[in-house]
């Protein structure tokens, strides 16, 4: 594969998000205003929002979630930028990761110098079964959904193939959930920002208060094995293997590299960008890997001139625990069949050799699908700038990566960020 370069350099100089959660009284536009204001506050120097020339909004399905299509001009309007070209990008759960890439390409083309990238999703208006149906529309509705598959079901099938090939046990996946909730507990924007241990103690306290028998779970693993505490969703995936249904919005400010110092003394240079697609899950030769992720990361590494070893921290698409395991292999952090041991061995912990999903990941932070890809960049912005508070990874972070997947891997987009100062 030839290594392609951007036409000119692009820097990330601002990043913000709304709180993630369930907000009955807020629509996606309200959440986007919060994300935009949070992004503005993150820009170090004077920044005039009217300098923004164009807007890319990642949004999977406000059409079905909110009965609202054509969302990009509305988002431009609510932040006072109504006349700017505003474009919605839809690639399922990779929508705002791909919107980020579109923003990068718009600057690299030379056409724009200042670009707003956003992501929105308002999912909690619908009952769970209808959310399941809406998400299922990101699969092949003609040939996959009639089999009875759901999104947890697809990733569960990937897990079944992975367990068969490599000997992984469901407990290995539980370790991923425990790790990501430990990170999310330190993220004030997380939807389920508590450790699984705290969750367990909360359930015990609640039972005691109601005068019910107090569950006898000894530890987190005990809790996670209990069908009543952690019900099966799609074997082998249980509730705590799945990311939640979430409302949320994210916003990023991209500028041409040569003007980045007008916005901050600490720009993050986006030195690698890759995107690839793949066929329906059943059409793939190997069900234990996502080929689009392999291809997208190879493009990004090639463009950046770096290797997986060079990446200090990464936010990867853990819509399900198995997805994090597969992602860390597809990105070249671990050999095929080795990734499932990483959480248990604390390699992917905040103080491990390769911290993964310090934000809490989609698992704990929440997964407002169209907002999640740009949300990963928000965490990388905070970590690389030393703004991550209690969950800050120690030491310098010269290189970091985001990995955002749509569907079962029909889309994958990967970005690599560099801090040079």
């Amino acid at each position: 594969m030839s290594t392609k370069k951007l036409g000119r350099g692009v820097a990330l100089v601002g990043a913000g998000m709304s709180k993630f959660g369930a907000f009955p009284d807020k629509s996606s536009r309200d959440l986007f205003v919060e994300a935009f204001q949070s992004m503005r506050q993150s820009v170090d120097k004077d920044f005039d929002p009217t300098d923004i020339e164009t807007i890319y909004i990642g949004n999977f399905s406000s059409d079905l979630f909110e009965s609202q299509s054509h969302t990009a001009p509305i988002m431009a309007d609510v932040v006072g930028l109504a006349s700017r070209p505003a474009t919605r990008v839809e690639d399922a759960c990779a929508s705002s990761g791909v919107a980020l890439r579109q923003g990068i390409l718009a600057i690299a083309s030379g056409l724009y110098d200042v670009v707003l990238v956003g992501g929105i999703e308002k999912m909690t208006n619908l009952p769970t079964a209808e959310v399941t149906d809406t998400l299922a529309a990101a699969a092949d509705t003609l040939y996959e959904i009639p089999a009875g598959f759901t999104f947890p079901g697809f990733y569960a099938a990937i897990a079944s193939a992975y367990m068969h090939k490599y000997g992984m046990k469901p407990e290995h996946l539980m370790n991923v959930a425990i790790k990501n909730h430990e990170n999310g507990a330190l993220n004030p924007n997380a939807q389920f920002g508590m450790t699984i241990a705290a969750w367990m103690e909360g359930r015990k306290a609640s039972a005691a208060k109601k005068g019910k028998p107090i569950p006898t779970w000894q530890n987190e693993m005990d809790f996670l094995h209990d069908d009543s505490a952690n019900p099966m969703i799609a074997w082998p995936l249980r509730l705590f293997d799945c990311s939640p249904i979430t409302d949320g919005a994210t916003a990023l400010l991209l500028v041409a590299e040569d003007i980045a110092k007008q916005f901050t003394d600490h720009p993050l240079h986006i030195i690698g960008s890759g995107q690839a697609s793949d066929v329906a899950l059943h059409d793939r030769d190997d069900l234990t890997t996502i080929n689009a992720a392999r291809l997208a990361s190879q493009q990004a590494y090639g463009m950046a001139g770096v290797t997986p070893k060079d990446i200090r921290v990464a936010e990867v698409h853990d819509c399900f625990t198995i997805a994090e395991v597969v992602a860390t292999e597809d990105l070249g952090f671990f050999a095929p069949g080795e990734g499932f041991k990483a959480a248990e061995d604390h390699v992917t912990a905040r103080d491990g050799a390769k911290p993964i999903n310090t934000s809490g990941g989609l698992k704990s932070k929440g997964h407002p699908v169209g907002a999640s890809g740009a949300g990963q960049a928000v965490e990388i912005f905070k970590q690389m700038r030393g703004l991550a508070g209690k969950r800050q990874v120690a030491g310098d972070i010269p290189l970091a990566l985001t990995h955002n997947v749509g569907g079962t891997g029909g889309t994958c987009v990967v970005h690599i960020y560099e801090r040079r100062d």
């Binding site: 947890p152 569960a156 099938a157």
Partner: protein
Amino acid sequence: MAMTAERPFTAASFTQFLNEKKLMGSHCIHCDKDFLPPRAICSQCYSDQLEWVEFSGKAKLAAFTSIYIAPTAMIAAGFGRENPYLAGVVELEEGVKISAQILGLDAKKPDQVKIGTPLKVEFVERGEGETKQTALAFRVE
């Protein structure tokens, strides 16, 4: 009903064949590759010279799950938390793979289901009257 050779390579034709209890895909005359679901353009050699091919229906289980939180269509068919079902990816003896419901195994004991289990195609009718649809399933041999 149109003769096999005249039917376009569409999802509607595929479904029509399922109603006739046939598992049909397309075969590239130029490079000999089989496709299931059927496709109109060969993704290997880009030829548009394809013909319908009927698959034997003999398969083995390649990946699976037991689904407890069901989509609305499966809830309507009586499935859910108390009555989970198996969905899977099967590999046909001709080498192609497809998604299908898996029958004849205990969905409440998924840890006893084995990848590689031999299966045979089954055509399952869901719904009644106008909404009647034939779904693709595979049953343990």
